[in-house]
């Protein structure tokens, strides 16, 4: 291969996102630390949002800005969303990728991208 593959390509692109989304969403819903934030939301809408998030975290194409992240989570920050919840999501993300046999090196890169949204998500 002459050109260096992007993280998104290394992970397997859209097919990898599709493989991960159900596993990740299941982990989030059964994670007592954060599941209450997902109560009452439409599961299908939420699954599409999870897919958008994973696409971004996998280094894939997206148009989300820091402002979108702030707007999208402001109502959750009001309900007490804090660092511990972001930690839980990043943990669940890592566990999802481990289940799909992704290397620790790539998992660290995904976690770093997710980490980079922390301040915007928490509105700071």
């Amino acid at each position: 291969m002459s050109q260096q593959q992007s993280l998104y390509e290394k992970l397997g692109g859209e097919a990898a996102v599709n493989a991960a989304v159900d596993i990740f969403y299941r982990k989030v819903l059964s994670d007592d630390r954060i599941s209450s934030f997902f109560e009452g939301v439409d599961m299908e809408t939420q699954a599409a949002k999870q897919k958008s998030f994973l696409t971004m975290a996998f280094g894939g194409p997206h148009n989300y800005s820091g402002l979108d992240m702030r707007r999208g989570h402001a109502h959750l920050v009001e309900r007490g969303l804090n660092d511990s919840h972001v930690d839980a999501v990043i943990e669940d993300l890592g566990a999802t990728l481990r289940e799909l046999n992704v290397s620790e090196e790539l998992i660290a890169q995904v976690a770093a991208i997710a980490e980079s949204t922390r301040n915007d998500v928490l509105g700071r």
């Binding site: 599709n18 989304v21 819903l29 599961m43 699954a47 599409a48 897919k51 958008s52 997206h62 148009n63």
Partner: protein
């Protein structure tokens, strides 16, 4: 030159422009978020013309078949007439003659309608039936297009129901009503014929499921098909004879009538339909799910099915919300 038609206006599509950019650029308020074909916020439906295949990427099969697409990744090469998913005006009103009315149990009426114009629907979708121009209600279709000549509805009489009460008390065979539709994405998609199907319904939630089961069987679905129909007591169940006949006829079809109000006689399961189903089939990985009826049941069962391994794209649901203005 490609034109996009929306709400009776024509918009010329620019080079390399998406339908979303074309419309929002001219001030049409189309909701959007990721602009990358992922989040599905800009979901639209083609009411004329066919959307490009790649603009349907990631959509549920039932939506693809109804020409839904994502406006942000839609670059059509031919004219397209488009609407937002909730635009009621996209469907014309069709007159239909009431062919028969027959009680299925003490509170559910079987309504048979003959449409005056052909209506292209799938078993399990719903239509809106109007008592007058401004008063209509959604009812699921229990009929199967190629099996039944007419549309079949199961209308449950609601306390103070302005439409259901009228259907039960005043409507007579031979009268003409107006309907609009079909709508809804809870139906059987041909293919993957060996996949197991689990159908869970409460009350008149049996209507779409009765259609879906017969549709799947008539299309030679070979995988196991389990239907769980729940009610509080025996009086709430119906079509039990017809369903037991189907069990005799098709070895892959299984029917479990469930009674939630106390002890169940032989041949009936004791408990709520969803609980019985998840107990009998605890691992739902690779199963296709159909959930219809009481909104609380549908919502809870959706989550339980997903957590039990069913993939989100394999869960089809229709919650029967009771109109607040009944």
């Amino acid at each position: 030159m490609v034109n996009i038609r929306y709400a009776k206006d024509n918009f010329e599509l620019g080079e390399n422009q998406s339908v979303l950019d074309c419309l929002t650029g001219r001030g049409v308020p189309i909701p959007f978020s990721c602009r990358n074909g992922v989040c599905q916020t800009c979901l639209m439906r083609a009411t004329g013309g066919t959307p490009p295949e790649n603009s349907q990427n990631g959509l549920k099969d039932t939506l693809k078949l109804q020409n839904y697409f994502l406006a942000c990744i839609c670059h059509p090469t031919a004219d397209l007439e488009v609407a937002l998913p909730n635009d009621d005006d996209v469907q014309a009103v069709i007159p239909a003659t009431v062919k028969s009315l027959k009680l299925l149990n003490s509170e559910i009426m079987h309504v048979e309608l003959e449409c005056h114009a052909p209506i292209d629907y799938r078993a399990g979708q719903f239509i809106n039936l109007f008592r007058d121009q401004s008063l209509g209600r959604s009812y699921s279709l229990a009929s199967v297009p190629h099996e039944d000549d007419h549309l079949h509805l199961h209308v449950r009489r609601l306390p103070q129901g302005r439409v259901s009460g009228w259907i039960h008390e005043e409507l007579r065979p031979g009268e003409t009503v107006e309907i609009r539709g079909p709508g809804g994405d809870c139906f059987y998609i041909p293919g993957n014929t060996e996949q197991g199907l689990v159908l869970i319904g409460t009350g008149s939630g049996l209507a779409p499921l009765y259609g879906i089961v017969r549709d799947a069987l008539s299309q030679n679905h070979t995988g196991p098909i389990h239907l769980f129909h729940g009610s509080r007591d025996l009086n709430g169940l119906y079509l039990t004879g017809e369903l037991r006949d189907l069990v005799e006829q098709y070895p892959n079809f299984n029917y479990v009538p469930c009674l939630s109000g106390g002890e169940a006689p032989h041949g009936f399961a004791s408990g709520r339909a969803d609980d019985v189903a998840f107990q009998q089939i605890p691992n739902l990985k690779n199963w296709r799910m159909f959930l219809c009826g009481h909104p609380d049941m549908v919502k809870a069962a959706k989550k339980k099915a997903f957590m039990a391994g069913a993939s989100m794209k394999d869960i089809y649901a229709d919650a029967f919300n009771v109109s607040q203005s009944s």
